[in-house]
Symmetry: C2
Subunit: 316 residues, 2 copies
């Protein structure tokens, strides 16, 4: 198990897009802009700002252009937008994002359910998007949904994951995001999958997108670090959810991830206190309790005053 590490662990906050998209309340545009501006100052490596989907499909993100235009951009932060297709790419070109994110399911049933395409048809569409990106000097992250488990097919053979990864590679993509779409992955699966992907495509930067649906997000991050992954998605407050498990938790919370890395003396460059201030704002914004454990319990080693009279509860 890795105990010491000189590498920086990069963190991308996907709360503004992946998180807020799942909220019932429509979040005012100015609040989104403030959230992104606040996150920009925390030290995160990237922020998933928005998505260029059709406003009727996702009304929460109808303000994509306005948000991208009005945020304050920090030099060290990569601002990314999710680009689902060629029509979206045409809009995205005008947004001047640092990175476009593709989201493609590696399993046939989820690919068809989500985008009404086969895996190969979806990859062909994405190839056109990548071409537009590269013509406009925008880097692309190839996302692999259902890579660590599919709601319709269960466990996914590694060959299916590799098939999409190699397709992305042949398009010139050198950053691939591996997603546990429904939060079903375990540390062994994460470790073996990432180890094999890194061995197969050593010049690709792999990031992990993990949900805490079944309590394993931080264990899976630990496994990912051990396999060589140095880049993780997370969502402020743990925003987001899982459409297949209503009421279940969503993305791993950025503050939970940074808190664990801090305790382990692994460097992320992200300021936990700032995150905790932001998550208080976010809780007010969305109007319900956040899933972030650090938001609820506070960081470890908030030392208390010893009580003056004997406590009656045996604390074990």
């Amino acid at each position: 198990m890795i105990l010491e590490l000189n590498d920086l662990i990069k963190v991308k906050d996907v709360g503004p897009r992946d998180g807020l998209q799942m909220e019932k309340a429509v979040i005012p545009t100015e609040d989104k802009i403030k959230l992104i501006n606040d996150l920009s100052k925390t030290g995160v490596h990237g922020i998933q700002v928005t998505s260029v989907v059709h406003p009727k499909a996702v009304p929460q993100l109808a303000d994509a252009e306005i948000v991208m235009k009005n945020i304050e951009r920090h030099e060290n932060v990569k601002y990314s937008v999710l680009v689902p297709n060629v029509r979206g790419a045409e809009r995205a070109v005008l947004m001047l994002a640092d990175e476009w994110e593709l989201m493609h399911s590696v399993t046939e049933s989820h690919c068809r359910s989500n985008g009404n395409k086969t895996v190969d048809e979806s990859l062909k569409e994405h190839e056109k998007v990548v071409k537009i990106a590269h013509e406009n000097n925008v880097t692309v992250q190839g996302g692999m949904a259902t890579a660590l488990g599919c709601p319709f097919e269960g466990r996914v053979p590694f060959e299916r994951v590799l098939y999409t990864a190699e397709a992305y590679y042949s398009m010139g993509i050198r950053h691939i995001g591996v997603a546990d779409t429904i939060g079903c992955a375990d540390p062994k699966l994460v470790y073996t999958t990432m180890k094999r992907l890194i061995e197969k495509l050593p010049d690709v930067e792999f990031s992990l997108h993990l949900h805490n649906t079944r309590g394993m997000a931080l264990a899976n991050i630990l496994a990912g670090i051990n396999a060589g992954v140095r880049y993780f998605d997370a969502s402020i407050g743990g925003l987001g959810g899982c459409p297949y498990a209503p009421g279940a938790t969503g993305n791993v919370a950025t503050e939970d991830l940074v808190h664990m890395l801090d305790l382990m003396n692994l460097q992320s460059g992200v300021d936990l206190n700032q995150l905790l201030t932001i998550s208080k704002d976010v809780e007010r914004l969305v109007g319900h309790q956040l899933e972030s454990t650090i938001h609820r319990a506070g960081p470890s080693y908030q030392v208390h005053a010893a009580p003056t009279k004997q406590e009656k509860i045996e604390n074990q």
Copy 2:
């Protein structure tokens, strides 16, 4: 990172004592007995049944004798009671438990706050308890509260942990429970502490008692397994809490632990489906939502039918 293992991972369910003790609702004695009888059939290695504390101090456990007398005992399950002092030992002798559990804080401030004794005074009291146990052929688990962090002192020097472990060893104890009392431990701390303890006292069986207060319970269990620990406490439904972080989650849920072990193909011998049936009963019993993620989200790879019309939400 350990990927394959022939060892059995033992699980002790502490819900009936450590969990229910934190509940506001008084749980009827017959419901406790049913819970313990149900847990006995799941394949758990041990159940922490009750505690012989003064009924005025912990009214929830005033029925200790009645519960111990009326449960059905399974041959392969160890039924333990928490024994805080000599007076408790005298009661416990009559209960015919398989194991007595001692709970002693390794830090001075917590030891004084919890039991109004110094560490050495507390160890002296426990030595008398151990003597009574051994005279009655009962094995003893020496519990070490605050071993992985203290609410009043923060991080605890390893020497303080070793001091209590060696004191227990010299009393003839060969099973020591290491507790993350306030759920502040991280995987690196768990790994290094357990590795060092096992090296110092190789003929002791160490178990880990972890809380999920800051989302790291399963990551810490992973670290514990990597360090050589093969015995974990857990609590059905994630019952229990932390008096220093009201509203925060408590013990790692037995079903969350077993679910992760199952996915990783590590053997616990515990039946997840039975646990999930029991946690439904427990939720009714305590009258509030349980923290167990598997109770909320269901196990991984519950394969769904693919939807017939295109889903509008981009599931990432």
